[in-house]
Amino acid sequence: MLRLSLRMFGLVWVTVYWWVRPMVKWLLRRTTGLCELQRVCYGEQRGAQRTQGVGRTPEIQKCMKYIDGKCQERTLNQELIYYVVFAIVKIKKINTQAHKGFSDVLGQCLTQIWGFRQLSAEVEAKRREMYDPANPQHEEKLKALWELMMPDTQLEARVTKQWQMIGFQGDDPQTDFRGMGVLGLENLLFFAEHHTSAARHVLARSLHPTWGYSFAIVGINITHLAYSLLQSGAAKTHFYNASKRFLELRAFHQFYCHLFFSFDEMWRQEKPKDIMEFSRIRDKFEAQVKLKLKNPLAFFKCNFVLENV
């Protein structure tokens, strides 16, 4: 029964896809004088709606394979995007005199699509880079994190119980980065460096006697959340609305800062009995963020309003 209905569905889908869809497209092309790409570019609002529309058209799907390779190598740049736009305009015989804005709009969308993909690849590379105490760059970043979070306290040694003051588990933060690698450290450092007062504010709140939690550990768990929202594509809406330009790692750090700060707010609102409620509240927070990201106009800003500790 199930198999039969599945086959029926498949048949209907194939018919629609191969016959009805081109017919509708042809009809629209004749009546409007525009190709699908142009219709999407003109018809949709700038941001996630338009960019996601462009991403679904077959012309772009074809280009994707080639450029995706470049993305994985993390060597994609703006110039290559212009070549793609040029090629599409040629192939689709678009009259650039009559449609002056089209190339720019398409260029913007493609910049966002591949900016997002390259960002995913960059973030993945950072995550795979394990924290290495023999790497002076890693060590310096860790030290900088301490200095920004605890400006009045000298770090006594590289391995010390003091790390627990900013919410690491033991004497050496190294083991806490685990599956998130250097990405976890860089996220924390960016928060401390670029939103210093907000980060210190969250740290102060995390030290509350009843509603406290481990700042750094929770931060690394938020890195995991931000990472999975990026890799699953759920965060596309935010990133497409956040920037017209080619996305850089900075955009991911900003996204992280927003998540960490709003998680802290939710934690306090929930008034948890103790730290053992973390998974429940984390899951609730994730569901809430995913719901917000479903909105095509979703955009998380980093305007932090600091309330009482």
Partner: protein, 180 residues
């Protein structure tokens, strides 16, 4: 799945539900082990704030595995999870020699808990893939496991990341439950 096998599955007795408790110091590998048991991706683990729980089917049992964070701050909460535990699984990082004493003390305290009296204990000597890992026999001796007389116990060398030894440990768990 065919209709027949579906019916057969519905007819058979529901699985016996069991509660497994995973404890050990931070960075021992509890969450990785939990994910391995549930056949999930283990490359993206993060330090456990609070606890994780997963249900795993094995050998006609439904195992509810509780993985509680091992950070010193969280250890006082361990006792809240002792009740109704069928098997205790204690995980040790075999490469972390500096903390063998600390992990031994924690284990000693757990085993003297009234709520866990008589509960079988499986000790996983984890991270055997590390070059400096202590062999299970050395850990057993260091922890003086032979002095445990009030319950059945077993030490199993394993590597949660490669999966080696994990199945053997789980088999021991299921075998000791059937005897009950």
């Amino acid at each position: 799945m065919g209709l027949l096998s579906l019916l057969r599955k519905l007819k058979s007795a529901p699985d016996q539900e069991l509660r497994l408790l995973l404890l050990g110091l931070d960075n021992a590998g509890k969450t990785t082990l939990l994910k391995k048991l549930a056949s999930e991706d283990i490359t993206q683990t993060t330090p456990t704030q609070g606890f994780n729980i997963k249900s795993v089917q094995s050998d006609g049992f439904k195992l509810n595995v509780w993985d509680i964070g091992g950070q010193r701050k969280i250890r006082p909460y361990w006792r809240n999870y002792f009740e109704n535990t069928d098997v205790l699984i204690y995980v040790i990082d075999s490469g972390d020699r500096k903390r063998f004493e600390e992990t031994g003390q924690e284990l000693g305290e757990i085993l003297s808990e009234e709520k866990l009296a008589g509960v079988p204990v499986l000790i996983f000597a984890n991270k055997q893939d590390l070059f400096n890992a202590a062999p299970a026999s050395e850990i057993a001796e260091g922890l003086q496991l032979h002095t445990i007389r009030d319950r059945t116990w077993q030490i199993q060398a394993c590597s949660a990341t490669s999966g080696e030894g994990v199945k053997d440990g789980l088999d021991w768990v299921c075998k000791n439950l059937k005897k009950k």
